[in-house]
Symmetry: C2
Subunit: 362 residues, 2 copies
DNA sequence: GCTGTTTATGGTAACGTTGCCAGATTCTTG
DNA sequence: CAAGAATCTGGCAACGTTACCATAAACAGC
């Protein structure tokens, strides 16, 4: 790069720098810094950790040596010596289900990073044997805590082997509430979605709620029951009577979502607004309304849930929907973990609001 | 657990076990195992690492001690001693853009895990200062390699400070191709999408390609040019003439996507199939066709790209689309990293096929 | 029965770092 | 100016692990 006196020299200097680089980048230790700067290792350590009692002269020399040799302290040695590992485990059952659930990771990471900690992530793919193996690995690496995240809001069971490891659940919870958790406030979401329709002047508000059965049993999904309660509460607060006919439960296949919309609109007194259990339902709802020649939001307002950007921003008109606090849950989980380091954690059950994202469909 | 001679002893043993557990889970070392089993630390180490020259008797005693004290070797100490860190860095510019890009992480993780390695992930949020800080942290933790992933296929520039660290790019590449990379084969995707329409008997095939400009300049996105080339090639192979009027470029806003569909269908000889640059385009294309009273796939076939499950499976009819090999890219990147440990890596430029996912829209 | 190999075992150093201690120098203060 | 405090400084041990070395016993072959 720099000007060279003559070719041979330039070439030599270049390979030398390269060689040195290769050798050094591998392992520059505090000892070499000490030797290079002509001080003891302790002094170097003191400079690194901003301890007092180092003369300006030596501090300068050490800093220079560090820069010259591209020294980086070994986190491994620090940890072994007695420091913290600075590692947090992020365990998730299945990332793929809800795409924007990645935001949980981002939220967790941002807080961790601010505390000079790093995230070790493992996706178990729903395999509990794998989950236990992951916990084992986390333990071997001395993580200081674990965030267990589910990709949709539901009760979970923790993998074995977590005893004694501070664990916070995000977007899920234990049936017995014995561990701290942070989840979306579904009642709040249902309430404000309905309120948005009411505030826009709508009085008959349909609700295509979610529904799911495994072997005839409906798991206690808060999304289903919470949003319904919020819906009812909002109606009540606005003096509107609750009407069974306006509430439907869809197993979320496109055809079912479509059918429920059609049946809702075939009512003697059809709704002028439809609150959909999620954005996919809203998408199919749009199709059905379009086929009926109805305009959104002119004839019927539609509100979704989840704020899946690809759908909500991609639809025509763009979808007004409820935001799941994924990012915030990730943040909260790690925050709580870090705040309570050392202490035993209270099993706080935190619910974060799902704010309305107003677009064009109301 | 074992039978007790008299109650007092049992009780003592119990609390003792609990107490011991609390204290030990914190840190059981190889030394304590050795003392408990009445052997030397070396012997314990030999058992742990399946080395020969340990009598069955002592091996049994050591294994028992390990189980009794819930011992786990410290990866930190192993690493310091000279072992590998077993850490891989996963650096990404922005996870949020394409939701299913998380599959890159899953793919990377699965391979890493199979090699007893763990993924350290950092999302830079597109901030290059943060990216460099992340590289620094990765270095301090002695990661053995880095996967740099972009969330849509494009040229990138690596953060500073990666010199000497084996790096593989996933879903992105360097302009000068100086580092190995793995990306989707866009030409292949464009070719097979078009071929699917041709094979279904279609002869006039519209193409709503993607387009993007920043300050009047279109970055060299392979998605745009590659798919177009594939489209052209497929037509040629089937003896169909390429027609400029059938190819459009959309900046991907819902309204533009809609407009392009309408204009395509307003042609003197409108297409009987439309290949969309991605699933969002296809979604808007569906709306436009529905409004025209056209049936999919009866009147017009539609093919998407990306296979965003929420859209592709949520539409009516379900969308036939091209799968981006996210999971496979993650796998390939880590595989390549691990295979070439120690060696200097050839800057292989790998392109993985985008297979057709046949659903109902063709 | 003597050499040479195979098997079994534990002690010790080293990995890179920092806390503790001890020694040396300078600065206060009565 | 003597005694104590504050400021510098480096040596050494220890964190938990494994490679290397040394020692010892058992076993083979002639």
């Amino acid at each position: 790069m720099q000007g060279a006196i003559f070719p041979g020299q330039a070439q030599w200097a270049e390979t030398d720098a390269e060689e040195r680089h290769r050798l050094m980048d591998a392992k520059v230790t505090i000892k070499e810094i000490a030797r290079y700067a002509g001080v003891g290792t302790t002094t170097v350590s003191r400079v690194l950790n901003n301890h007092p009692y180092v003369s300006d002269e030596k501090r300068r020399r050490v800093e220079q040596a560090i820069a010259a040799l591209h020294y980086r302290p070994s986190q491994t040695a620090r940890h072994l010596r007695g420091g913290s590992s600075g590692l947090l485990g992020f365990l998730t059952d299945d990332v793929a289900t809800t795409p924007y659930a990645v935001d949980i990771i981002r939220g967790a990471q941002d807080v961790a990073w601010a505390h000079h900690m790093v995230l070790l992530v493992a996706d178990t793919g729903g395999n509990s044997r794998f989950a236990e193996a992951a916990v084992d690995v986390f333990r071997e690496r001395a993580v200081e805590g674990i965030v267990y995240a589910a990709m949709y809001h539901r009760p979970v069971r923790l993998p074995a082997g977590l005893d004694g490891l501070p664990t916070v659940l995000a977007n899920c919870f234990l049936e017995d509430r014995s561990a701290p958790s942070v989840v979306p406030d579904e009642v709040y979401g249902g309430y404000h979605a309905t309120k948005a329709a009411l505030d826009a002047g709508h009085r008959r508000i349909g609700f295509i709620n979610l529904w799911e059965e495994t072997e005839g049993v409906t798991p206690p999904f808060p999304a289903i029951y919470g949003r319904l309660r919020g819906y009812q509460q909002a109606l009540e607060d606005h003096g509107q009577a609750y009407e069974d006919a306006l509430v439907r439960f869809s197993n979320q296949t496109p055809r079912e979502n479509y059918r429920h919309t059609r049946e809702l609109m075939a009512l003697p007194a059809p709704p002028t607004a439809i609150f959909c259990g999620n954005d996919k339902v809203a998408m199919n709802c749009f199709s059905a309304l379009a086929e009926l020649g109805l305009d959104v939001p002119g004839d019927v307002a539609v509100i979704g849930y989840d704020n899946i950007a690809h759908i909500a921003e991609g639809l025509l008109p763009q979808l007004t929907t409820m935001q799941l606090p994924h990012y915030e849950m990730g943040k909260w989980a790690v925050q709580y973990l870090i705040e309570n380091q050392g202490r035993t954690m209270e099993p706080v059950q935190m619910a974060l609001p799902c704010p309305l994202v107003a677009r064009e469909s109301v």
